[in-house]
Symmetry: D3
Subunit: 333 residues, 6 copies
Amino acid sequence: MHSSLLIHGSSLPSIPWEERPEGDSSVLWRYSQNPVIGRDAAADTNSIFNSAVVPFRDGFAGVFRCDDTCRRMNIRVGFSKDGISWRIADSPIDFIKASLDIPDSEYKYDPRVVFVEDRYWIVWCNGYHGASIGMGYTFDFETFQQIENPLMPYNRNGVLFPRKIGNNYALLSRPSDSGHTPFGDIFYSESPDMTYWGKHRHVMSPLGSQSLWQSTKIGAGPAPIETKEGWLLFYHGVLNSCNGFVYSFSAALLDLDQPWKVIARARPYLISPQKTYECVGDVPNVAFPCAALTDSDTDRVAVYYGCADTSTGLVFGRIGEIIDFVKQNNAIG
Amino acid sequence: MHSSLLIHGSSLPSIPWEERPEGDSSVLWRYSQNPVIGRDAAADTNSIFNSAVVPFRDGFAGVFRCDDTCRRMNIRVGFSKDGISWRIADSPIDFIKASLDIPDSEYKYDPRVVFVEDRYWIVWCNGYHGASIGMGYTFDFETFQQIENPLMPYNRNGVLFPRKIGNNYALLSRPSDSGHTPFGDIFYSESPDMTYWGKHRHVMSPLGSQSLWQSTKIGAGPAPIETKEGWLLFYHGVLNSCNGFVYSFSAALLDLDQPWKVIARARPYLISPQKTYECVGDVPNVAFPCAALTDSDTDRVAVYYGCADTSTGLVFGRIGEIIDFVKQNNAIG
Amino acid sequence: MHSSLLIHGSSLPSIPWEERPEGDSSVLWRYSQNPVIGRDAAADTNSIFNSAVVPFRDGFAGVFRCDDTCRRMNIRVGFSKDGISWRIADSPIDFIKASLDIPDSEYKYDPRVVFVEDRYWIVWCNGYHGASIGMGYTFDFETFQQIENPLMPYNRNGVLFPRKIGNNYALLSRPSDSGHTPFGDIFYSESPDMTYWGKHRHVMSPLGSQSLWQSTKIGAGPAPIETKEGWLLFYHGVLNSCNGFVYSFSAALLDLDQPWKVIARARPYLISPQKTYECVGDVPNVAFPCAALTDSDTDRVAVYYGCADTSTGLVFGRIGEIIDFVKQNNAIG
Amino acid sequence: MHSSLLIHGSSLPSIPWEERPEGDSSVLWRYSQNPVIGRDAAADTNSIFNSAVVPFRDGFAGVFRCDDTCRRMNIRVGFSKDGISWRIADSPIDFIKASLDIPDSEYKYDPRVVFVEDRYWIVWCNGYHGASIGMGYTFDFETFQQIENPLMPYNRNGVLFPRKIGNNYALLSRPSDSGHTPFGDIFYSESPDMTYWGKHRHVMSPLGSQSLWQSTKIGAGPAPIETKEGWLLFYHGVLNSCNGFVYSFSAALLDLDQPWKVIARARPYLISPQKTYECVGDVPNVAFPCAALTDSDTDRVAVYYGCADTSTGLVFGRIGEIIDFVKQNNAIG
Amino acid sequence: MHSSLLIHGSSLPSIPWEERPEGDSSVLWRYSQNPVIGRDAAADTNSIFNSAVVPFRDGFAGVFRCDDTCRRMNIRVGFSKDGISWRIADSPIDFIKASLDIPDSEYKYDPRVVFVEDRYWIVWCNGYHGASIGMGYTFDFETFQQIENPLMPYNRNGVLFPRKIGNNYALLSRPSDSGHTPFGDIFYSESPDMTYWGKHRHVMSPLGSQSLWQSTKIGAGPAPIETKEGWLLFYHGVLNSCNGFVYSFSAALLDLDQPWKVIARARPYLISPQKTYECVGDVPNVAFPCAALTDSDTDRVAVYYGCADTSTGLVFGRIGEIIDFVKQNNAIG
Amino acid sequence: MHSSLLIHGSSLPSIPWEERPEGDSSVLWRYSQNPVIGRDAAADTNSIFNSAVVPFRDGFAGVFRCDDTCRRMNIRVGFSKDGISWRIADSPIDFIKASLDIPDSEYKYDPRVVFVEDRYWIVWCNGYHGASIGMGYTFDFETFQQIENPLMPYNRNGVLFPRKIGNNYALLSRPSDSGHTPFGDIFYSESPDMTYWGKHRHVMSPLGSQSLWQSTKIGAGPAPIETKEGWLLFYHGVLNSCNGFVYSFSAALLDLDQPWKVIARARPYLISPQKTYECVGDVPNVAFPCAALTDSDTDRVAVYYGCADTSTGLVFGRIGEIIDFVKQNNAIG
């Protein structure tokens, strides 16, 4: 890795990849074999989506939202050599709790996985008197520890930064209500120890009529990607149509040292639900990103996203082009 | 018929049937030519769904929800040799009323047909100051009598048992409100004479987070099927997604003598809307069963169900396997 | 009693009574010492209202809605020599159930008491999977029997007629939803045996802009009073203001033999909440009648009504004048 | 043009056209290559729908709702030789305002274009303190003038008549609320000068249970077509299903001199969303007509309509057959 | 009248009046005998409020909202020598319509009366497919003419200016929805002829957290009062508490020539409901002004306002002090 | 102070006090001169309520919710010799912020004041992207410091414990939504440094039908009072009537070392709104406690509570009797 690279991260030559199809000028392009993970790719699943993937040893590991055929929401571990073909566990992750006082959860969903310092942190939506942020970690994707919920209910879409900011751990989240929540901003919080959280800062609100796909609520997607230009954040936005919520996603750049300051934010979406597997399913019209793999040597990125709350899709792009897109279509200032 | 048979019912060698596709381990499997009845299979129809089919003479008869191209909801009679190919009437059933005081209905929908003792009873959702249960009968599917509404508004999904329970007729129903009703339990009522009803008993509620597909409301589907193990009841359940209601279905076992007592109830669904004809239509994401044919000699069952409030689908299974599924995935106790 | 009397009922010389104040031309006039029963007239009560009073032996008995200081809703028995001064029990009525299957109730409220044939029937709102009608009886106001709920949930404001209609018991009720119900019509139902009910008939709907005090919902008040001109029914109506529901009441005349046919119905209210004890309390702006005493010899009537869901008021009138009022202000036809 | 012609309009031999497919008895039939305008037929569009097309010079011009990839709603100009293949501008129309006081709009959508007297008028939904009607004109589809909003907020679906009625300009519109509006009637208004509007008249309401596809709200579609039998108005109707709004359309006949008087109105729909491109998209289940081309010599009509708020469809028919359909299925009287 | 006077209006030495009580520093002070018009001050009334009073001949005339004991809303004429003691008609005003096409109204409420040029104009809320503005006039308060509704539904709180602005009649109004409307801004419209209206301009919105009593909706009260400093407008504002709407009122100054431009607007209320007759009644917590009398010689003003939607109150003040209050507590800029 | 005392606190011989009236058996009794602080007891106030009082030097200090005549919600300081007669500041407290990043607040309301270790902490509801908890402190009630918001939006009713629990500061709060919040539980959180908060624990939920006055939501009132039997917590509860929310209050006992464990909790209320000053005002039917003074020598307590969101009331009681009441009416277990 040398200093001229755009991504402040590791090499990942084995990143799942397809080149942009000829004649296609999209900034992000879809994997030709989407959905990459079908709804029944594991035992007894109704759907597999909102998938959190990271490089692990000589391949990849992931934590997956698998609703079973009771439509119970839980998260399972999975492994892959190539990021495309996955072996997903037959049953949910069984977390070990450091203390009996750590809140139980009726359900778990929408995980994110982020490697910080020495371990893989898992953040998810945890049922604790309503939607809350749950938090745990693993070193090996075999044994999983659950720690304290970092924040008060009601909250969803918690995502850690991949390194400390000014000596503190840093978390994005989205306060919500106890239902389908027709509003939602992204906030930033800090912690010296992953247990006590404070210095809550407002980051971004939905936009008004200048960008309707993100006019109802927004939420962080994959962990922010550190680049020379700032933290690159993929985030989803929601439009409230007369036939329900439509989830699309795009990207923003946050200040490296004060990430609650938005440097630039794309007004257009990068991906909106347009393919059959994004439009038709348990919840029509959802494209919801949860994980991004990057290869710093080649500037490539692969984003996993939930499709219609039913299966998992994959899109590809290049970080430099995405940053250019964000800056050229900036909604800020 | 000999005593070792599981189903307490008649032989029906002509039951519509396809064997389970190879490699498919589903308990219920879909008919390969679904939808078995298309939306325009009769004159002037917008949609044909939620269809109530029974054996009749040397073939089958049925009562069908046919919304016309005004989207007016009404029910029509139809006939078939094989249960697959149907001749459906050009206009709604014209009921004869025993008395002028019997409430008129603005509309009729979601019929069930059940043979009890000497005649075919039809139960439907009847517009009488809001959603109510309507009731009538026929001996020959030519002349139809309408009797008193059995219950007060607001109620939907009324289904008779195929025989008296302890000398009384027995009915399942689901009290509702005057709109799209975001709640709903199944109740049991009795009558000595099909006119006066009482001894109302609670049967089942929606389940909470342990089975989300049935977390918002539930309702009886086809008439309960008498088996050695209890009444086998297919019932639908509703999940309230941010994009509206999703209707799936599964099964439960009720006590033969006190059917308000639930012996076992499946936690997973048997069928959820996953095929295009179930996901796309006038109301996306609906699989809504209304009739079941059984052959006691061979333990086979064929279930007719509404697809996306647009067309009619057919699924096949074996009663023994379904009962095993219910007992092995029991949500009770 | 001679045939020229207007009320088909008994003499009640001891009826509570005050003459109409001089200069007052109201059809009903308020008792000068209202509220006749204060909110703390019994042990541990938050409020005593919606009171059901009948003549009993040489005085009066009653069943009273007494919310305790947990605001738990239940009903208690009480006795009075003069209908004005009451001894109300320290705890709720303890009903004996004929069968363990008779539904338990989480709460009881808004009782009516009606003498039919040989006993005093009590009808109330019973918590059984939501608001339902509860039913019981007593011979002596010491021992109370509870029988089957007559109707399916959701229903409120059940009131019996004081005699059989054409060999059947007869009941008015108001189907509702599971909440504060922004709609509501009065229906009529019959039973040969007080257990099985049927022949449900629509009686009256709320009125539109021609009578706004009864534009949102209506419900039967005291048991209908048999008169030469028909059943005189006091009923409440609700207006939905921007600051909540306003409950007033008036009267209608129903056909003696077919009580679902409305002969006449007053367009104006008789009583609307205007006094402080009707406007201020646990639920502001409520006047809700539940019982009427009549003296056929003198054509007098005394109506007990709940005030602001807090205390009990009393108004007086003469049946002949009330019938004239209903006919002269008739909203029908 | 001779007097026996049904349509009071011009010849348009170049009208886009396909004959009715053999065996198809529909009054309107779909273009075999639908959607005629795809969602990405112009630069940077998320969707192109609700398109307003008129004959212009030797071909056609149009104003198109083009939501960009921010889902910002705006309108663009486009041109075509054949009405099938379109060149649509890369950016929204830039209106010149006669006065700085003319209200700015945050967005523009759902345009209609009508030639009256000497120019092409454009009417659209204009964001001015909520949904309002915007108004402008062009002579050449190059320069566009915006004038005063004709009506107060909140209003949508404004459509001009193609000639003055009794010396005044005439406009249909649909008052609404500030959200997704669960109600809506069509009204008629007049103006001597296109600035001051009055004489507002009610035209049509949604129908009740006799025609559910138009039971929630209705709105004018293309400009009314003058015929010997009256103004032929295509209009959309909405059914409120438990999964959201469903938009279909049909037609009515209005009096030539007093267009607020409805001569006949079809109870059934002509087109409801049944094809994949009508059922699947940004807003599932929408068929929303905005423009009609007619050829008076041959009685042909081509209707452009929005599909699933995503793309533009085209249907064909004959005015005489449509009028017969309206009269034979008349919901009036 | 000489040029140094603040009010551009007539002398009115007979204005109802009480001096400010000693020790009271309120800008407006209440009449000591409030309510000046009780709820039963006319025949068959439930309530008399939102009263529109003007000088007439040697005394005063007025148009009064009188809800009858059906709670039907209508308006009646009344006369007074002193503005305190009123004779109010026994029945509603019977308007003569210039044309049969002028919309009928199911009800009328909340009148304002304004003398412009040669006659007394009455503006009210008129039931025409929901809340609309109704308009009529009288020369003598004996014969009343009704003209066209000036604006489209839904709208309330229409108030005319007392003279033309730049050759046009001028009207304030508040677009609303079809229910209890949880939002509402004041708009300005013009007409050359009282029939055609246009040039609609936004005047004022509710304020946010800086002035909560006017945070939900606002509406014009009495006709604006012309002063040297601008049009003085009393207007009501609404706070949406967890127990319903609270109506208070204050004042603003509008530009004399361009009245949609707000010169100053008081942040605090002048009157909020605090007295029993304002807090307790058919709608608790309402103070709603509809008329103001001024005496230009002495700078005095008397404002009539509805109290709890039940009776009419009167407050007094001095225009100069009110203008000072508005300017010193200005929420603008 | 000797070990037999029930209250673990200081002597306060100057506590405001009246003995229980003769014949009154209430556990808490009202001050005979209520409201103790009227709505206009300070300059420019609409209302003074939800008052936070503590002993200070030789008298008392307090922080008061004073809504001004704009109905803007803010908090002011006040002083008193006897706790009865108060001098309240003319303007809101001006907090000094340790950092510019500390969130601004649009408004402040419902303060609590608690002395912990060396200073007086003020906790209030702070407007930061919706209702949030604000936090500050003072040593002298002259200079006030504001620190970080301890928790994420949306939250209300934050109250500190008067001493550290196990080396950490301890806080009760109630997560809410952005509106009038129809739900609400009490939670417990801890902090080592008053900036970073964690270890969030659920304390209590609303009760169901067993105690309706607290069936919709609950929230902590004054700072918990340390006693031999546990922390005595006064808390409010809300009943959702058809005419809005009703706020009453009662008490619970929490474990001294693990205060999220409830030892006992009263089923009945101690005070519900029954007096005119509690039933009539800006928000009818509110009794909302915010502060309690205790005298450990004599076991006396005086509770300040908001009345109808308008004025401040005072009730008196004895800790021993209150604890007995809680234990004898325990809703737990």
